[in-house]
């Protein structure tokens, strides 16, 4: 028989409320006071940092201040995002042993595949892309992240119903740095919205129903709408005291200089490749790369998938990751040696390039 879960819709709220509710519901589930829950949430305009990120490194704080964009820190991992009422948040709170898979990668995969299935119910050709994205035609439509507390897990995702790309680029400092006349077009190539794909915004209730049905069927659960309990309300008040104050937002503070965007362009036999690399020099890790240039790769989405595969990769694993990526799929690069993609990243990170950047 299907296990009972709660369906909770907390509507449109400011970021501090939503993050305090994350803590409330996770801790309450860990304490055995709350049932497993599927929650839908939306945000007034805000910039959300990943738990381990620094606001000064990730965000244009002046722009946020001038435009009334609230800055908050998530309790989950991953990167900074811009959120406004054009996106829908979905979250699952459950016990570590409830899905029947133990490791975190498998938990992510299982839940992302179900969320992708929900989007297919809406007529979108959505797929899970390791490690944490849901994409349509190689373009990201949903990002996810999670957090554990004792025996309880919270896994959350965003769904781009609509997106103000220009504003997103202004809010996120690393994207803003690379702002050129091509930046908006470049971002649009890499993300996609439900609105763009089906030509209009579907009613929110329809999207929520698709997600709820996909999770209910995939997890064999029965969802029953309910509200916050009295004990959760009390925990929420306490959580807000910690989260709606600068100490929480400044919990991790790192100098912007430790993160920089490095660029390189080179002509290889078979094409010209340009790359921008967001590199964390302190831990020697590639945060993100963006490839462009004049080269022939089929299918074209392979370039976007390669960018996804290189996210958060330690520099010493660069060449292996690129080689494994091309070994695992059919990609036609004509005369271009696939290893060129690793070489151009190395070149962007070479000492001479560092000195110049």
């Amino acid at each position: 028989m299907a296990v009972a879960w709660r369906l909770l819709d907390t509507g449109l709220r400011r970021a501090a409320d939503n993050i305090a509710l994350n803590r409330t519901l996770l801790e309450s589930r860990a304490a055995g006071e709350s049932p497993n829950t599927l929650r839908f949430l939306r945000f007034t305009p805000c910039a959300l940092l990943g738990y381990h990120q620094s606001a000064a490194q990730e965000l244009d704080l002046e722009y946020c201040r001038d435009h009334g964009i609230e800055v908050q820190r998530r309790i989950t991992g991953g990167g900074a995002i811009y959120f406004d009422p054009g996106q829908l948040g979905w979250e699952l709170y459950f016990g570590r042993r409830d899905l029947g898979v133990a490791d975190m990668e498998s938990v992510s995969r299982r839940l992302c595949e179900l969320a992708a299935g929900a989007l297919r119910r809406l007529g979108l050709d959505a797929r899970f892309r390791p490690r944490n994205d849901i994409e349509v035609g190689g373009r990201k439509i949903s990002g996810t992240g999670g957090v554990s507390e004792g025996e309880a897990l919270l896994f959350q995702g965003t769904l781009l119903l609509d997106c103000d790309v220009e504003k997103m680029l202004r809010v996120l400092r690393i994207s803003a740095q690379k702002l050129s006349d091509k930046a908006v077009a470049s971002a649009r190539e890499r993300i996609v919205t439900v609105r763009e794909l089906i030509g209009q915004l579907p009613p929110l209730s329809e999207v929520q129903q698709a997600l709820a049905e996909a999770f209910a069927q995939g997890l064999d659960i029965a969802l029953a709408p309910d509200e916050l309990s009295a004990t959760e309300q009390a925990r929420f008040v306490a959580a807000l005291e910690e989260i709606a104050q600068p100490g929480w937002i400044d919990l991790v503070a790192k100098p912007p200089a430790d993160r920089s965007l490095r660029h390189a362009t080179q002509k290889f036999p078979g094409g010209l490749i340009s790359v921008s690399v967001d590199f964390d020099a302190v831990v020697g890790r590639i945060k993100q790369v963006w490839f462009s240039g004049d080269f022939f790769v089929t299918p074209r989405r392979a370039v976007l998938d390669l960018e996804a595969a290189l996210r958060n990769v330690a520099l010493e694993h660069l060449e292996d990751t690129v080689a494994q990526f091309f070994a695992a799929r059919e990609v036609d690069c004509l005369q271009l040696d696939p290893a060129s993609f690793a070489r151009i990243v190395r070149q962007a990170l070479a000492p001479a390039a560092l000195a110049a950047s």
């Binding site: 944490n132 507390e149 330690a314």
Partner: protein
């Protein structure tokens, strides 16, 4: 040395099995704390490490450090109550060291226990380690390291 489902679990350490953490009692009365190889296998490659500040008092089973892997954030719980004496600069520079050497260079914090004798009773060591982790892995549905 115990090996359970391919996971190395040295039996001279003290474990909180549920929290998947170990403590080593040092000759000077301090302890070193870290994640088990099993915890590392569940987490995947760790990319961020944020320990509590040196000097802070942490209660037993409260978070002494936070790690992130594959966009999952998780607290590491103190095996006993005590003060944080040191955090690991090598792990801060290269969080993947936790996965590479969880019982050696990948240690997370050093602590001065308030009451080792009182608190360590809740920890498992020696001959009980293998069976305790076997039971946990079984309940978790874990295939192996």
């Amino acid at each position: 040395m115990a090996t359970v489902r391919g996971c190395n679990l040295p039996d001279d350490l003290y474990y909180n099995v549920e929290n998947n953490v170990w403590a080593r009692k040092e000759a000077d009365g301090t302890i070193t704390v870290g994640m088990t190889s099993y915890a590392c296998s569940l987490a995947g490659e760790i990319v961020s490490y944020t320990p509590k500040k040196v000097g802070k008092e942490i209660e037993q089973n409260k978070s002494v450090c936070t790690v992130e892997s594959g966009k999952w954030v998780g607290p590491v719980k103190a095996p006993v109550t005590g003060e944080v004496l040191a955090t690991n600069p090598d792990v801060a520079a290269k969080p993947g060291a936790i996965n590479a050497d969880p019982y050696g260079s990948g240690w997370l914090v050093k602590m001065k226990p308030s009451s080792w004798d009182g608190d360590s009773g809740a920890l498992v060591t020696g001959g009980g380690v293998a069976s305790a982790f076997e039971a946990k892995m079984n309940a978790d549905g874990f295939g192996g390291c």
